[in-house]
Symmetry: D2
Subunit: 284 residues, 4 copies
């Protein structure tokens, strides 16, 4: 793979960190849609055409594209995917997050979606969990140590987050429905409860929701102390009745896209790692 060239088309700081990681491995790296940056070490900042023409591998942002526009955090100019450019992509190895957004425009390009990969999701869950702890530390006026935390859901994020909180000596309860999850939760030193047994939040200082369903509804909120801090990690619309929370004077934060915001370097390295894994599986 070494001696190959790669171009990052748009995106934010995460792509920049990913680009750097590829440069460090010996790739020739182009950045298109990054003209706010004057120069960036070994990275070659260039227009989109030059970028694509010179590269074996094309990387679109985590968020994919919008119509034909590629989102660019580091450029004020519009980065647009013309038919000519689309044509060029056909002979190249194309990576993107939310790849459906590109497939909608052209069905002839084979796209590898790094966002769909399980290892991306797991590594992202770790970054999300650390980001959630950061938000809790910023918003909660006490200490995480010895605080009473509830984590709803025991998927990737719930599993990692509840372990981190336990390490920080919080008293952690985790909600789930599955009996075998109960045993994993116990095995990691936390306390399991059934999600449908959550009728109020009076016994918790901090609540982290990871379930994309209305778990923390009006009823639950009405049976909660106003001192509880709720951090919702579930993607829109989330799992908390935010309006009810506001009326009840309960702090509820919808904390989205934490990896990109809190740890863009880690988020970029996840992209790099996943693309490398996919390259190895497909082309070696």
């Amino acid at each position: 793979m070494i001696n190959k060239s790669i171009v990052f088309l748009g995106g934010d700081k995460r792509q920049l960190f990913a680009a750097n990681a590829f440069a460090e491995m010996g790739f020739t790296v182009y950045l298109s849609g990054f003209d706010k940056l004057e120069s960036n070490g070994d990275l070659i900042i260039t227009d989109i055409y030059t970028g694509i023409v010179n590269s074996d591998i094309i990387v679109f942002p985590v968020t994919g594209i919008k119509d034909r526009i590629i989102p660019c955090y580091f450029s004020n100019k519009e980065l647009r995917l013309s038919d000519e450019l689309l044509e060029l992509l056909k002979n190249r190895i194309v990576f993107s997050g939310k790849s459906q957004s590109i497939k909608n425009i052209s069905k002839e390009i084979k796209i590898y979606d790094y966002l769909d990969r399980e290892e991306f999701a797991v590594a992202n869950a770790l970054a999300t969990a650390e980001g959630a702890v950061q938000v809790a530390m910023e918003e909660y006026e006490g200490l995480i140590s010895n605080s009473r935390c509830l984590v709803t859901g025991y998927g990737r994020i719930g599993r990692i987050l509840s372990s981190i909180l336990n390490s920080l000596n919080a008293k952690v309860t985790v909600s789930t429905e599955k009996p075998d999850h109960f045993e994993y939760i116990i095995a990691t030193g936390n306390k399991p409860i059934k999600t449908n047994k959550i009728t109020g939040l009076n016994n918790y200082d901090i609540v982290f929701n990871t379930v994309p369903a209305l778990i923390i509804d009006k009823k639950v909120l009405e049976n909660s102390s106003p001192n509880v801090l709720i951090i919702d990690l579930a993607s829109l619309p989330g799992g908390v009745d935010f309006e009810a929370a506001k009326k009840l004077n309960i702090s509820a934060i919808h904390a989205l896209s934490l990896p990109g915001k809190c740890s863009p370097k880690a988020a970029g390295e996840i992209i790099t790692k996943t693309i490398l894994n996919m390259l190895k599986e497909e082309f070696s």
Copy 2:
């Protein structure tokens, strides 16, 4: 469920602890095949016929039966499943481990297999992991703290064991094939390697095998220091070439059935918990 009666037919200390847990919850509990015990608190020690006749729920041992004989650690008499007894089972709720052994005799009895349940497997994995640490502490002349450990496999046992070793400040490497396992292993502070990259054990003080396949073969062993301690947790025939190890003067222990040996109380409670979950799901 309370006010129900239950009989434990044979088995070892685990069944005794399970029986006690049921008695504490208010069940009327019979023990058949336990006549070495003179009396045991609230538990009623009786013959198999009386036990079954008086009980709503029947519990066979974790290991199932052998032909028609029920294994009994606490009895010198043979506990045999006659046709008459089999007939009685038909109207009762029957639990067993390795239930196929009973199904082989009669196809008309509905048996709930608690050994097949995921929560049983997870809780058993925790007990196995602690047992493995105990064996390591007993056999290794150094400390677990700062020892270099390899755990092969990242299934239930590998996952829990590698976390425990990390907690004890060992330097832990975990082998697996899956990229998403790699990320979980990293997220829990350990070092991942590909299982097929294990070519020797020179860099480890203690090796725990959890994979039921010949991972630690002659070649790997020939490329190992004689000081390494190998603990094989995989069921027969295990994942270690024990003969080669012996010739090379490498300590290799096949540590089987650890929950029953090292923590019969915990193992009994796992049986209780699993049976209760199954009763709740099926009959409420």
Copy 3:
């Protein structure tokens, strides 16, 4: 002690949380120098004279006073310690941080200094350590997990902080001079080095200084990657050559008074706990 009255004279959010804790235990609690607050549950907001006259116990802020002025975060008016008020203090139980500032004005008042207490220092070290992790999470673009951290000094803060970082799966090195500290550091899973062996910071992502001496001097900084993040926790002037860091483009943050800033609730509870311990020792 219950049924006693206590007044908090000035201070910030920490005193407010401390006041609340006393109110919850059944004390009658006065707040003087808090007139920005309109009302505050059971707490009686009043002028300084009324506060002192009605109280058995007087609590000055953590920072003590400046000349005769009591610092007040929650008031725009000046809170001044007149001779008349000083006279009133003589018959009361007086607590303060930095009590020397009051002793300078009057030698006849017996003051119990809660800041001097070892349990205050230890609990404060925990709050400082969590605050330091928060700052690191906010400033570092990667994850704490698997980052390479250096903690200089193994006093109260170094001891607790290095354990927390280890729990978060950072790779932690701790510097100290004492051989027995080396063994404690090893026992908690971290790597010890001699403080005077720190000649550069190239091997670290994040450096936490806890030593009140110029450990991270120009020479050390010149031998460091510009990517390192330095968080200095030592009180003024700190242990980092901040000017040199600036010239070398190295991020160095002097993070002071973290408990009050990051976790005022916890900081307030520490005051409460310490005062209660002192009351018990002296008056029961």
Copy 4:
């Protein structure tokens, strides 16, 4: 120090591991009082006179000597310290545990006591703590995970042991008298209580005593469940009324000298490390 010679006079497996560590560093190493061993790699097994005459450094066992007899686990012959040998020691660097036992015979020999060193005590505490966990795992029929543990005393062993148990997800209570210990105990996620508030052991599954005073007396035992397991780590006579425990049918184990028994390799390395530290401080 390299190119020096060293002799180990008697002792057990710990001295053998220490000797090996010195050999690995390039020392010429003699063993006297080890004639049960036929040969041992680079170590030269010899009589006591040859050993001393050829060595710059002399190492007596951890336990010192008894009258003039050096205890020898690996020899059936008596190893005696004659006047002639004592004379030879005067010009050599002599290390011993319990050095008073040698000082009683000759006041003219300068002896460095490695047992008295703080780093020895700390490293030994870690080995003792792991040994205590091993004993608990062997004797307790449940799991350490989620067991309710009491650790009495918060000295070196209490501090390390309570952290290890917490890591293993036990519910840990630690007893001490000092308010600042309380805060350290809380900071590490455990629950503090005052030692004199221990009036019974009904709430614990496993009790570890580290205090060399009769903490677990008859009264406390009478107020305990017979299911509790007591492991006394305090040196003779210990801190448990063993007779009362026996009468009450409570399992109480006096677990002494755990490092030597459970982890002789680690114990030997502690000796090596401590001697090296002392050599560096005194002779460089």
